[in-house]
Each structure stands twice: as C-alpha cells, then as structure tokens.
Amino acid sequence: MKISAIRDLLEANVHCGEGKLDKEVSSVFGCDLMSDVLAYAGDQAVLLTGLVNPQVIRTAVMMDMVCIVFVRSKAPSEEMLTLAKESGIVVLSTDMTMYTACGKLYSNGLVSDYRVK
C-alpha cells in the first residue's frame, strides 16, 4: 500500500514528507510504548502511535521506519518535525483512535501475521 493510500484511508493530515507519499509499505506496528516498538516491531515500516515526544521520531529512525501516524488528533511539535525531516520520515496525523485507524488499514489489506514469540 502506498503512504498516500494510508493518508486517504485515515483522512490524515500530512505534516512532512509530502514527496514520499508514493512509497510502498507492507506492514504496520501500532503502539504507544516505545520500549515495545524497539523490542517487537521487526521490519514494520509504519508506526501508529498516540505518544507525542521526540523519542517517537528517534525510535522510528532507529527501527528504519518510513512513516509515523499520530492517532487521536495528537499533533507533533516543530522540534519533532525537524527531526523527522532530517531523517526523511513521513509524518501524518488523524482524528481516528488507534483501534479505528488500525482497523481501517487492516481491512484494506495492510495485514500482518507477525507475532512477538
């Protein structure tokens, strides 16, 4: 699925990375706990989260993720967007809850059978 399709499905705002919306992604990790993102995210390309701080961006950088979606209307700060731009990460935000956002993506084909064990 292209990042632009994620934007459309989640009716999301694009905060940065407009030039990379054509990029294809095949997996998502939804989590507010960065410790678990670092432990379990595997090769997941997109991070859905309701946590808003610079460590969200740095965690995504460490895990080679290409797109972050902030759920529940959370807005990234300028500092966070600067970090994301430096690392070429697309940042989106949606009014949907984590549950609804994950459901929309899953039911439209972004399916993962990844288990932590």
């Binding site: 706990l33 410790s35 432990a39 701080n53 610079p54 969200v56 460490m62 895990m63 500092e79 690392s87």
Partner: protein, 140 residues
C-alpha cells in the same frame, strides 16, 4: 580499515527531550562508513536503549562507539546509582522506572533484554553507589 574509528558522546542526563540524540548521530556516522543496514540497525537500537537508560536511571554519562574491522563496540559508562541485581534487571518486564518515565513511552523493562537481543556480546559491570559500565559488540 587499519585503524579503528571512535565516536564519543556526553549524554545529558538533565533533559529527557534530548535523549537519543547521540544514537541518531551514530546511525548517521555508520551509514557514511558504508556498514550494512542490519549492523547499523542493531548497533543503533542497542545504543539507543542504553542511552535512554543512562538518562532515565543514571543522570547521563559517556557513550563511546568504536568501529573495528570485524565488529562495532559500544561502551556506556555512567556514575549513576548502579544496578543492585543484574540478573533481575535482565528479565523482560522488570523495571524500576517511575510512572513519569512510563508516560514518556519507556520504562517497560525491555531495555537491557533488548540490548542483549540486538548484540553478539554484552557485559555489565555495576556497583551500587558507584556506577555502571556496559560493553556491547555487534559483529560486522
């Protein structure tokens, strides 16, 4: 490479918002050196976990990354409170972090286990009231 390359950082323990800066820089540096994506990810995640730990638990410290011919070594040295029971600290889910730290997305007790998971070699030397030194290696 005939001579090893060393990157050294002072990790600020006062300001949580800057936690992880050194690891982002290390990732950039390793990319410039042309190391494989897998090695870079393993080094940077292990260092990031260690750097966050230093800020959360130890009030900062010194992080050093040595790029050698067959491995990358990460040395994290702090003058924090030390780890009372290393075996317990290595267990997934065990944490002494405060609720404030948990609300920032960390302190789930995954840091040390994760550092071991992402590296090929790891030692912890710690003395209560003196500090902690962690050495990790990722083979190239």
């Amino acid at each position: 490479m005939s001579e090893e390359l060393v990157f050294r950082f002072t990790v600020d323990g006062e300001d949580f918002t800057s936690a992880g800066q050194a690891s982002v820089q290390v990732k950039k540096n390793l990319r410039q050196l042309g190391l494989s994506a897998e090695v870079i990810k393993r080094v940077s995640v292990a260092m990031y976990e260690g750097e966050i730990n230093m800020v959360i638990h130890a009030g900062g410290g010194i992080a050093e990354v040595r790029v050698c011919e067959s491995y990358v070594e990460i040395i994290l040295d702090d003058k924090g409170p030390g780890i009372k029971d290393i075996d317990l600290a290595m267990q997934e889910g065990y944490s002494t972090a405060t609720d404030t730290i948990r609300s920032l997305g960390f302190g789930a007790g995954m840091g040390l286990p994760n550092m071991r998971k992402y590296t090929d070699y790891m030692t912890i030397e710690s003395e209560v009231g003196v500090g902690t030194k962690i050495v990790m290696r990722v083979n190239c």
